[in-house]
């Protein structure tokens, strides 16, 4: 009977372990209530916001904190909805899980260098844009590369399946494309010359170029060859929430909080705050 006891103990231990772990992870599924974004912010006084974790200057997780322009914009939106910055639950998103996260209610909002486009509009609603970025190239400070037309035969690094990567493939098929799962892996390669350029939105590139360890080594070419309006993603049917977010953005453009958000993050590189063009805000799908 000794054997049976050993097995029984093992099974019991396995089950307890399993259940302990189940109990520990219930907090991941705080879906938004039926009343939409505004309703949830009012009743629960907290929000789950999806942001990037590995994009310096925009959304970077430094230990337990997140910092960057997207984070500051998120705080402005939350404040406008009556939620304290301390009650925001940040959730790391990567490029290809933003739509599912919104659709499934894993997050209430996505503010993660999220370009508004027609394909995405079919799945989610967009407020904003709060910033207009453009695809550009990051090259070594002494590089002669002047723009995408000079990329033939050169190696460009980007993220697997991302819009910038696809644009290079279709518009500049002679460029060699090295793809990774995150831009942070492209930078050491640019540093030691294994790739000639890194391509994505100029604002993201500027964030990397401004990091301490790369200071002075890289430059953004400065000839954007696309227009990427960054929006704030939320549920497709939440028109009221979207309109409220646009109102908050309009107010932030007027009272200087938008400029302050820029100055405390990306503005540190010396670039002046952009003008938030409130006439270009989305109509929230109507």
């Amino acid at each position: 009977m000794r054997i049976k006891r050993v097995a029984a103990v093992a099974m019991a231990a396995a089950l307890t372990l399993g259940m302990a772990a189940c109990g520990g992870d219930g907090d991941g599924e705080s879906g938004s209530s039926a009343k939409g974004l505004v309703g949830k912010a009012q009743s629960q006084k907290k929000l789950v916001i999806g942001v990037k974790a590995d994009q310096p200057g925009l959304g970077l997780q430094t230990g337990s904190q997140y910092e960057g322009f997207d984070i500051e914009v998120a705080k402005i939106i939350a404040k406008g909805l009556g939620v304290d910055a301390g009650n925001i639950e940040w959730k790391t998103t990567v490029s290809n899980n933003r739509e599912p996260f919104i659709q499934q209610g894993t997050v209430d909002l996505v503010i993660a260098t999220y370009t508004i486009n027609d394909e995405r509009k079919q799945k989610v609603n967009f407020a904003g844009p709060y910033f207009i970025a453009g695809q550009d190239l990051l090259v070594k400070a002494d590089s002669p590369l002047t723009g995408p037309e000079a990329l033939d035969g050169k190696t460009v690094c980007s993220v697997t399946g991302s819009t910038p990567a696809k644009r290079i493939q279709t518009d500049h098929p002679k460029a060699k494309l090295q793809q990774f799962d995150s831009y942070s892996k492209c930078l050491p390669l640019l540093e030691n010359g294994k790739v000639d350029a890194v391509t994505t939105d100029d604002i993201i590139l500027a964030g990397y170029a401004a990091q301490d360890q790369y200071a002075g080594k890289f430059k953004v070419v400065g000839k954007p060859f696309s227009s990427e309006p960054y929006g704030i993603g939320l549920k497709k049917d939440d028109k009221a929430g979207c309109e409220k977010v646009n109102e908050i953005l309009k107010a932030a453009a007027g009272d200087g909080t938008y400029k302050a958000a820029w100055d405390s993050t990306l503005g540190k590189s010396g670039k002046a705050a952009p003008e938030l063009d409130t006439t270009k805000l989305t109509n929230c799908g109507s």
Partner: protein, 290 residues
């Protein structure tokens, strides 16, 4: 068979030859390592700024240790669920009823044949469309690990149960037990005991596979320790070396445990162990997932 039976006890000439070979290969290995060290040096990979973050408490308390905890909790949960899955499906495949045996066989064969990377990806992005609700990254990883490792364990259990001498179940039937009783009281406990080393070494596989969680941004060791850490400090290679060392240390400990369990069960001359331990030892190496 110990390796020493493959060659004679070395005489004076053989000893000299072995010593010479040792020196030649030893020098070769040292030269290779030194060359790698120099090339890394030339590339500036040993620069203090890349390694300094690892001397700071924040790197450990906010990146590596929480990430390690996430890795371990995913592996532990996955292991517990895999065990249950493995036992259920092993028994299912041994059932006398075809409508249990066939589906169990299909499930086990299918999940053993599908790469974990595809599975995890599908669970995170595909399953939500089916259940109309979100799947947290944690569960995408754990369920993926469970389906794959559970299927591997199911096959190991099945082999273990079948390796138990027929006399055991015959005797049990003779004293009037039903099939389910024979399974529960006689076969599964003995098989589980004999399979303990396999189970523990499958834990190594499982722990390594949690690394795939980084593709769905599950904050485990590879995601936080390499990706996010290097986004902060720009030290991809250094971070990868540190993280690899952590994986190797933990997995080596688990392997030691598996070997110790293996030796112990053999030393006790457990009746089934002698016969099933040989396939068991092979099982420890046959399923090298990522």
């Amino acid at each position: 068979m110990s390796s020493s039976v493959l060659y004679d006890h070395p005489g004076p000439r053989a000893r000299v030859r072995n010593a010479v070979l040792s020196v030649i290969f030893g020098v070769g290995v040292v030269v290779l390592l030194w060359w790698i060290y120099r090339r890394f040096d030339e590339a500036g990979q040993w620069e203090a700024r890349l390694w300094k973050p690892f001397a700071e408490a924040k790197t450990w308390t906010e990146f590596i240790l929480p990430a390690l905890w996430q890795t371990l909790i995913a592996a532990a949960t996955g292991m517990a669920l895999s065990l249950a899955f493995g036992i259920v499906f092993a028994v299912g495949r041994l059932s006398d009823r075809w409508w249990l045996r066939v589906p169990a066989g299909v499930v086990v064969e299918f999940f053993r044949a599908v790469p974990l990377l595809l599975m995890i990806f599908f669970i995170l992005y595909g399953v939500p469309f089916l259940i109309q609700g979100p799947v947290p990254a944690f569960w995408a990883v754990v369920v993926g690990l469970t389906l794959y490792n559970g299927s591997v364990l199911a096959e190991a259990f099945r082999a273990g149960i079948r390796s138990i001498p027929a006399g055991q179940s015959e005797a049990a039937y003779a004293v009037g037990m039903r099939k389910s009783q024979v399974m529960q009281l006689i076969l599964v406990p003995q098989a589980a005991r004999a399979m303990l080393p396999v189970i523990v070494s499958q834990l190594v596989v499982l722990l390594k596979d949690t690394a795939l969680g980084y593709i769905v941004a599950y904050p485990e060791l590879l995601q936080r320790g390499v990706n996010d850490l290097s986004a902060n400090y720009g030290n991809v290679v250094a971070a990868a070396i540190v993280v690899a060392a952590i994986y190797i240390a933990i997995n080596s400990l688990i392997t030691l445990l598996a070997n110790w369990l293996d030796r112990r069960s053999q030393r006790r001359a457990f009746r089934v162990a002698r016969r099933s331990a040989a396939p068991a030892a092979e099982q420890t190496v046959v399923e090298p997932q990522g």
